[in-house]
């Protein structure tokens, strides 16, 4: 069945979201069109505002609505320890665990020649810049425990070690192939406490 232009455009835009197939997109579209107008308007407004206000923190690269982000601005966080992750969702996962008092650096991806992602495409230059003032004592590499995450960790370790900063890798207490965002707090805590220095 084909729908009027505006409807099919809405379905098309919804179907571009991750995890949404065409059937779900239709369901969402018809929900939005049959609910009171405020529902759709509030959603549209929330999306627009979030998109306008949220950007990358100039220090750590995490998504934020203020500069620098809440973690980077927090006096109580230990600026000497930086935990490097692939994705903003990984920051959320580690923050839930509360045991970590350092700060973050978000790469926005991992090395993946198949996906056309090289070092230039990742948020790496600003990480190296953060290490130059000599205040950082340890960088924890918390990229995913899969081949791309491991390659990225190795690349960063080779880049950072000559600067004289200790580089550690999360202990593989995480199940094989598991991503940080799915790890529960206990395994995550163990992985952070059991981290090892890379040589």
């Amino acid at each position: 069945m084909r729908y009027a232009g505006a409807v099919s455009r809405l379905i098309g835009e919804l179907a571009r979201l991750p995890g949404i197939g065409s059937k779900t997109a239709q369901r969402l579209a018809f929900f939005l069109l049959s609910a009171p107008p405020e529902v759709a308007e509030n959603l549209a407004f929330a999306i627009r505002e979030a998109r306008l206000q949220v950007r990358r923190c100039p220090v750590c690269g995490n998504l934020t609505d203020r500069e620098p982000c809440a973690v980077c601005a927090d006096e109580a966080r230990e600026k000497a320890v930086i935990c490097v992750v692939q994705d903003p969702r990984d920051v959320a996962a580690i923050e839930k665990y509360r045991g970590f008092k350092g700060v973050y650096h978000v790469l926005h991806g991992a090395l993946s020649p198949l996906a056309g992602l090289g070092p230039e495409e990742l948020n790496i230059k600003s990480l190296i810049a953060r290490l130059e003032n000599g205040l950082v004592k340890e960088v924890i590499l918390a990229t995913n425990p899969d081949v791309e995450g491991d390659a990225t960790a190795l690349y960063l370790a080779r880049l950072i070690k000559p600067i004289g900063v200790t580089v550690t890798r999360l202990a593989h207490g995480l199940p094989v192939g598991a991503h940080l965002e799915y790890a529960d707090e206990i395994t995550l805590g163990k992985a952070i406490e059991g981290r090892r220095e890379i040589d």
């Binding site: 197939g21 090395l111 993946s112 020649p113 198949l114 090289g118 070092p119 899969d146 081949v147 791309e148 491991d150 390659a151 190795l154 690349y155 080779r158 094989v176 192939g177």
Partner: protein, 365 residues
């Protein structure tokens, strides 16, 4: 182990089928292209979580959007229920006794041994077919094999991509992938050597049973990596690393990874002569039959359970003597599913069930 019951939904040309096979022999007959192989494929899918022909998605009935097979295996003195499903986007779900095992293939250690006509190609066909035999048919008995192989393949794909694209930074970026290539490659090699060492005496024995005395079967793993006579993964990592470094310039020039388990081969000899070049049709059949026999015995040796045997259109292709050998071996021990469009009369006197497949379903006759 054996299959007590299988329920099939929207799988190939079956809409809804429920079969309680015989504990020993199941002979499935009917005209061509009506669903005999499809039925064997459903058992294979429940046991191993994948198909043996084409893409997994192809098993979904053309007018449906998911296929599912529910199988009740009797194993280690209890019944294990496996539910394997695939949806049209390609997403698979495998439940064992109702629990998600979090894996998309190899649900467990369900021993399914399949023997199909094109297995004769294993001996003379391309090296890839022999690697597939090791990776798929033997690999199931090593719990870490599939995972390690997948990691190796992924690293290899990334590395080959870098080599293909080239550029000034190529050499430097390759470095980052080398470590994992050598590590996982060495693990794959070490596991392959272990598997082949286990199966070698079994293949030798089976071959002499099949062909009688006088012919000695030999088997050699030919690696593109020079190995220093050790199956130890750490030693192989060193060997692979040393040789990889030495060949890197050549790889940059050829724009691909030229050594590693993805390029290796397995060669068979009879009285010292390469079967690929000198083997007769009959000898090749015997070697393949010996391989399949050994595969079954290896599964038993490793798990204490007999596997289930699927013979797709091969039994009638073998001569009387080899048919007898096979039937003697399975008799009373191994649950077997045999498909063939002819030869029904051979089985009417034996312990077992005979099914007729007519394109709409499968009926016991």
């Amino acid at each position: 182990m054996y299959l007590k019951e299988v329920r099939i939904n929207d799988f190939r040309n079956y809409n809804n089928l429920r079969v309680q096979p015989h504990r020993e022999l199941n002979f499935i007959t009917g005209p061509n292209a009506r669903g005999k192989t499809n039925f064997l494929e459903s058992i294979f899918f429940a046991g191993l979580g994948r198909t043996f022909r084409g893409h997994d998605r192809d098993i979904i009935k053309w007018d449906a959007n998911r296929a599912s097979v529910q199988a009740f295996f009797y194993l280690a003195d209890c019944t294990v229920e496996v539910k394997a499903e695939i949806a049209s986007e390609g997403k698979k779900k495998i439940l064992i006794n109702g629990a998600d095992n979090g894996r998309q293939d190899m649900p467990g250690c369900f021993g399914i041994v399949l023997f199909k006509p094109d297995d004769l190609q294993i001996i003379k066909g391309s090296p890839g077919l022999r690697r597939d035999f090791i990776d798929n048919d033997l690999g199931v008995i090593e719990p870490m094999y599939r995972n390690t192989l997948n990691k190796y393949r992924r690293v290899l794909a990334h590395r080959n991509n870098l080599l293909r694209v080239g550029g000034d930074m190529c050499g430097e970026n390759i470095e980052i992938w080398n470590e994992q290539l050598y590590l996982y490659g060495a693990q794959v090699l070490s596991l392959r050597i272990r598997l082949l060492k286990k199966i070698y005496p079994l293949v030798k024995k089976a071959y002499s049973e099949i062909s009688g005395a006088g012919e000695e079967l030999g088997m050699r793993y030919l690696s593109t990596v020079k190995l220093s006579n050790s199956a130890d993964a750490e030693q192989i990592t060193k060997d692979f690393t040393a040789e990889g470094k030495a060949r890197e310039r050549e790889e940059l020039y050829k724009k691909q990874t030229i050594i590693g388990p993805h390029r290796d081969d397995l060669v068979f000899y009879l009285n010292g002569k390469d079967v690929r070049q000198f083997g007769s049709q009959g000898q090749i059949r015997s070697v393949v039959l010996a391989l399949k026999t050994a595969q079954m015995r290896l599964f038993y040796q490793d798990t204490g359970e007999e596997p289930i045997l699927l013979l797709d259109d091969v039994l009638m292709e073998l001569d009387e003597a080899r048919q007898h050998y096979l039937m003697d071996m399975i008799s009373g021990q191994i649950q077997t599913f045999i498909t063939s469009s002819t030869g029904k009369e051979k089985f009417s006197g034996l312990q077992g069930k005979i099914y007729l497949v007519d394109g709409f379903g499968m009926k016991e006759v």
